[in-house]
Amino acid sequence: MSKIHVTTSVNGDPTEFLCEADETLLDALRDRLGMTGSKEGCGTGDCGACSVTVDGRLVCSCLMLGAEAEGREIGTIEGMAEGDTLHPLQRKFIEHAALQCGICTPGLLVAAKSLLEKHPDPTEEEARYWLAGNLCRCTGYDKIIRAVMDAAQEMREAS
């Protein structure tokens, strides 16, 4: 089997990797690039722990081939903070105790960021439906939704 050479951009960094044709983007990120912030909870697109953006669009990286990343712009949890400044969502997740074990947190943050880019003023129901593909087993979602709504408000006020 010969590997595929992929040239892409991850969090703004020009990035190249070699991967098998049937290897997922998630595996390429984690195993080829050492970016283990995206998690595999199911491998079948049901839990959202592997959420990334591709050309700005929220997707499950477990349901995309690494080879498909050629020429795309990939955004992951590792690119969410700017230097040592946390994204407001990251800050609010900590402040609201919106994580217990934290395994779903990277995926939820990537998904929530995508929500707020598209809907800066979501209703609670919109937030809950947007995030329905991100399973959390610890929190019952209460504090997660509160953190997202609070971050949305802060970001609206700041803009």
């Binding site: 050492g34 909870g41 049901d46 900590i94 402040e95 439906y129 610890c138 504090k143 939704i145």
Partner: protein
């Protein structure tokens, strides 16, 4: 160790405890830097995969691994033949058999072989080259069917002395608890109801699959990285299985992506060690979600008969329950805890429970949050609700009338000390939720729940650094913010700011034995040890101050983060702060640390009352959760955010159990829903906010009054949701999950 007087609860004003500080691992977890089980790699690492039985029950005649071994890139294959048999320890022998099948595959998903290769693709390809010769055997997956005399038999000779003669060999143990005279009590009742309830098995559903990285050398030393609720348990269990000395196996706990009891045992770790031993290379193993559902966890399924008598004014005169739990293919369903906890919330003159532990061709059950209690509470609380409604009595008033309180002889034997059940019921009655109006097709349900909590072996070391900051090392994986709680208790005790303390989870080489993170024990037991370690450090720091001041040790007291001279003869000295003392530690005898090793007993029991509103779609049977409020006693809430989080998380797991989660087996005994698509855990859009009311009835057995809070919150919701749905639907439901086809069928049967 019994608690000495100094460890008893004392009323006090807290400065740090009870505030909502930021957790120390927060930044790592929101930036993706935190390292979980599957996030570790090692140089030269191999990847391992497991071959699993596709059959529910089969004799393994032979396993031919030669073709797999011959595949380029494959470094080793292991089967049960690569493990020493354990003959003197049934408990560990069962764990080994569950990790790697012996002469029989006992359930769909049972591991039969494992391959280590230089890539995942090669490992996967190698699995297909392993030839297993099976003889299929008849199987049974239902608990009642497994108890039938002619049921397929999993094991001969595992039944213990408590089981009467003549039962199926699948019935392994019998438990009986209670006091009084049931028949005499029932005779005094105005109404007696007799019902049978069934619950399906549910999985803990942690989002992080099991993962580990093992490295073992020919010198008998080994290192293991894994996601677990207890790395000391992993060390001890793996050492026994691998014939290693415990001191030669160092286990480091990764960050853990949820456990809920499901990570209190081992599944992969011995296999990874065996492969590493055979290959001389580090070996990484990560389960898929399907493997997690097929071969780890779940909890027991149950079938429960209840008989309760009540007078028309709501007094329970007698209560009986017979509980049948299947715990998968090995002994140890949590039926004894179901039997002990079923009627624990009530003050009953006549009460009896009988529990049966049964094996079936399903994965070995693992502990799940208050193991055994939710299903028992579901049955009992459903029956009490039905009786109360039959007499047109307020269900909260009925529960208050019968509530266990201080001095009540518990249904499982002991007399309760101060407990918080009444407080939760009164808080529920006074809450606006209780009197909020309901619409058409809506119902409101309440239920109570109980859990024991316990202590266990615990070690904490608290070090004072030269600059006067404090590091706390504990041995319990932090599953929901416990590092924050330990830092808070250390800061409280030392009288310093929270930010001055950092708590870490140390590896097995760094501390003595620690019980698993389970039994809601960590905030209680590790907290207690942290406080004691801080007290030891304070004593040492007072001694150092006394040296500096040239006075007697007992003339120094610790207050507000500093040593002060105390008493008439101490002289006038300005206080020495922790930082001042740390700065001269080298000059006054060397580094300063406090440590505490103990097996604290005396964890306080915990009670909760839950209230939930639901709406039932009369045309489809769909259930919507409209409003949910948890009332629970926390003893003392060290970090209220994380206490609320435990209440909310437990409630939502219970909602899932009540509504849509279930193990679905086909006639072939194969699990049909081994994925998050059809194993339906609640999603964000299924739920409202989960309101919480924290009550604080101090545990006399902890210096700050702490009780475990993690488990009780999953006990009431099954019944609370069922009582609510039954009211909304106008028909009583007696089986979980209340999936829409079941609810619709009940509606049609009205």
């Amino acid at each position: 160790m019994a608690l000495d007087d100094k460890q008893q609860y004392q009323t006090r004003e807290f400065k740090v405890v009870g505030t909502r500080v930021k957790r120390p691992d927060g930044v790592d977890k929101v930036t993706g830097k935190a390292r979980f089980g599957a996030d570790m790699s090692a140089p030269g690492m191999l990847i391992a995969r497991v071959l699993r039985s596709p059959h529910a029950h089969a004799r393994i005649n032979s396993i031919d691994t030669s073709a797999a071994e011959a595949l380029p890139g494959v470094h080793a294959v292991v089967t049960r033949a690569d493990f020493n048999e354990i003959t003197d320890d049934d408990f560990t022998a069962d764990i080994l058999d569950n990790c790697m099948a012996g002469d029989k595959a006992l359930y769909d998903g049972h591991a039969v072989a494992a391959v280590a290769a230089n890539s995942p693709a090669v490992a996967k390809a190698a699995l297909k080259l392993i030839k297993v010769d099976y003889d299929l055997l008849p199987h049974v997956t239902d608990v009642d069917a497994a108890m039938a005399k002619d049921a397929p038999v999993l094991h001969e000779g595992r039944t213990n002395e408590s089981v009467p003669d003549g039962m199926s060999p699948n019935v392994l143990a019998r438990y009986e608890f209670g006091h009084g005279d049931i028949e005499a009590g029932l005779a005094k009742a105005d109404r007696v109801i007799e019902r049978t309830y069934k619950t399906e098995a549910t999985h803990q559903g942690y989002i992080e699959p099991h993962a580990c990285l093992a490295s073992m050398g020919p010198d008998g030393q080994a290192d293991l990285w894994c996601c677990t609720q207890g790395h000391y348990m992993v060390r001890n269990t793996c050492a026994t299985i691998m014939g290693l000395e415990q001191g030669q196996l160092r286990v480091t706990a990764s960050e853990i992506g949820g456990g809920f009891g499901g990570k209190t045992t081992v599944f992969l770790e011995p296999v990874a060690l065996a492969l590493s031993k055979k290959t001389g290379r580090p070996v990484k193993m990560v389960m898929s979600r399907s493997e997690v559902l097929r071969a780890t966890g779940p909890t027991a399924s149950s079938s429960i008969d209840v008989r309760i008598g009540m007078t028309k004014d709501g007094r329970i005169t007698a209560a009986f329950a017979e509980l049948r739990y299947q715990g998968g293919a090995y002994p140890g369903s949590p039926v004894e805890f179901g039997s002990m906890s079923a009627f624990a919330p009530y003050d009953l003159e006549n009460v009896k429970t009988v529990g049966w532990d049964v094996v079936t061709n399903r994965p070995k059950q693992a502990a799940y949050r208050a193991p055994g209690a939710p299903m028992a509470a579901y049955a009992v609380e459903s029956a009490i609700d039905e009786l109360a409604k039959g007499f047109d009595l307020d269900p909260l008033a009925v529960r208050l009338k019968n509530a266990a309180r201080e001095g009540t002889k518990a249904s499982y034997g002991p007399t309760f000390p101060a407990i918080g059940l009444e407080a939760t019921l009164r808080a529920a009655k006074d809450h606006p939720h209780w009197t909020a109006p309901l619409g058409e097709n809506q119902g409101r349900g309440v239920a109570c729940g109980f859990w024991f909590n316990f202590g266990g072996d615990t070690c904490v070391t608290l070090n004072i650094t030269p600059d006067g900051t404090v590091t706390v090392s504990e041995g319990n994986p932090d599953i929901g913010g416990s590092r924050a709680s330990m830092s808070m208790m250390a800061a409280e005790e030392l009288g310093i700011p929270y930010e001055q303390v950092r708590t870490i989870v140390a590896d097995t080489g760094s501390l003595g034995q620690n019980e698993v993170t389970d039994g809601s024990r960590v905030t209680f037991a590790v907290g207690l040890a942290t406080i004691e370690a801080a007290r030891a450090a304070k004593r040492e720091m007072c001694k150092r101050a006394a040296m500096v001041w040239g006075i007697e040790e007992d003339a120094v007291k610790w207050e507000d983060g500093a040593a002060h001279p105390a008493g008439e003869n101490a002289g006038k000295h300005p206080p020495m702060t922790l930082k001042d003392i740390a700065a001269v530690a080298s000059n006054t005898g060397g580094p300063i640390a406090g440590h505490h090793e103990a097996n604290p007993e005396g964890a306080g029991v915990s009670f909760a009352t839950h209230m939930v509103d639901t709406e039932v779609d009369p045309d489809t049977g769909a259930v919507k959760i409209l409003r949910y409020t948890v009332f629970q006693d926390a003893g003392k809430a060290v970090h209220p955010d994380y206490v609320e989080g435990q209440f909310q998380g437990g409630a939502v797991q219970g909602i899932g159990w009540a509504l849509n989660e279930e193990y679905i087996y086909g006639d072939d005994g194969v699990l049909q829903n081994a994925g998050f698509l059809d194993y339906r855990i609640p999603v964000a859009s299924d739920l409202p906010m989960i309101d919480t009311v924290i009550l604080e009835i101090p545990n006399p057995g902890h210096p700050y009054g702490v009780r475990g809070v993690g488990e009780t919150s999953i006990v009431p919701p099954l019944a609370a949701v069922s009582n609510s749905v039954s009211e909304a639907a106008g028909v009583r439901l007696t089986q979980l999950p209340m999936s829409p086809p079941k609810v619709l069928s009940a509606l049609h049967s009205k």
